[in-house]
């Protein structure tokens, strides 16, 4: 548990340092995900402990967005003043993006490979 948590944090730490050194336009944790992925490919898979720790972190991924979500309260005034353009754009644009991306991927990806 501690070993695998340390490994995950280490990947994130290296990611954060790399981002600052290279000015890559990607957050540190995303680089960390890439590093851990590369490590898994090289090693040929995760240990049981790492799987357990990762599952623990991902089981309630939604919860982790709540603190930042509450930050919406800082902009309630601005959103209220321009609620129609903001909410309409977010709603319609998100729907169009999901529809087009999903449709394209289903058309282009070879059939059956994802089952």
């Amino acid at each position: 548990m501690i070993e695998s948590l340390a490994l995950i944090l280490l990947c994130q730490l290296i990611g954060e340092v790399l981002v600052r050194l290279t000015h890559l336009p990607v957050p540190g944790p995303v680089i960390g995900m890439g590093l851990l992925f590369a490590g898994l490919v090289l090693r040929g898979g995760p240990s049981e402990k790492l799987t357990a720790t990762a599952n623990g972190l991902l089981q309630h991924l939604s919860l982790l967005f709540v603190p930042a979500g509450v930050g919406i309260m800082l902009h309630l005034g601005l959103i209220e003043a321009q609620w129609l353009p903001i909410l309409a754009a977010l709603l319609v644009s998100t729907a169009i993006t999901i529809a087009i991306t999903g449709w394209l991927m289903q058309r282009l990806a070879d059939k059956g490979a994802g089952e």
């Binding site: 336009p25 590093l35 353009p85 903001i86 977010l90 394209l104």
Partner: protein, 240 residues
């Protein structure tokens, strides 16, 4: 005596991270309970319910966001390690990924451009102010990238953060039903769409659907961050 005691207790609790941390977990559990009770009704998304409950509570008790965040930061911190941990579901899909690299690349770049252009166009047509329109462009990507891009193109980073969250919740709420309605059943396509349009909140939702959808969603979230950082500063130039 009792009011004085209560006052002392309140002063203690208000100064400690314990109270808002506990409330964050309780609000999420309440949201999850309602979600499960309603047979997973998308309208009762646990993140949305928890956020609304907490904002109402904070407003009622005149607590500012900074005070709230002192407790909630311990939950917030775990977002980083959880993002790293997405490497595991991704690794388990390595074979599916190898077979669909080109499809992922095309769908992702098109989806990324559509996300930014459609949002800016709709906001502009409906009379949104210039700064609001620009703040909207990176709304589909993970928050740190979105805020950086917003700053670069002349948007308001903290407003972008709020839009990123609303986008994530909208995507998680309408995405799965919309994809089903369009007969998009391939879990790779469902995941890629959710992650491209609705970043981590979409990924959290996709993970509850299937492992494959979650893995492709996490991949799309990471890649769309990079694509958006390159593409949006160019696209936003058309709206200035």
């Amino acid at each position: 005596m009792i009011p004085a005691d209560l006052q002392t207790i309140w002063v203690y609790l208000a100064a400690q991270p314990l109270l808002t941390l506990t409330l964050t977990l309780l609000a999420y559990l309440a949201g999850r309970y309602l979600y499960l009770k309603s047979n997973s009704s998308p309208l009762l998304n646990p993140v949305m319910v928890a956020v609304v409950v907490l904002i109402v509570l904070l407003k009622l008790t005149h607590t500012d966001y900074q005070t709230y965040f002192q407790g909630a930061q311990f939950v917030h911190f775990l977002l980083g390690p959880a993002t790293v941990a997405l490497a595991l579901p991704l690794y388990r899909q390595i074979n599916a990924l190898r077979r669909s690299v080109l499809a992922v690349a095309v769908a992702l770049v098109v989806g990324s451009a559509v996300a930014a252009l459609s949002a800016m166009a709709i906001a502009k047509v409906l009379g949104g102010e210039q700064q609001t329109v620009l703040s909207m462009a990176p709304k589909s990507v993970t928050m740190p990238i979105a805020m950086g891009v917003a700053e670069q193109i002349g948007g308001l980073p903290s407003l972008t953060a709020a839009m990123v969250l609303i986008t994530g919740i909208v995507g998680a709420v309408i995405g799965p039903s919309l994809l089903t309605l369009m007969k998009i059943r391939d879990p790779r396509a469902r995941g890629l769409a959710m992650g491209t349009a609705a970043h981590g909140i979409g990924t959290a939702r996709a993970l509850t659907e299937s492992e494959t959808a979650g893995a492709f969603s996490g991949l799309a979230m990471g890649l769309n961050g990079a694509v958006t950082a390159i593409l949006v500063p160019i696209l936003a130039g058309w709206f200035k």
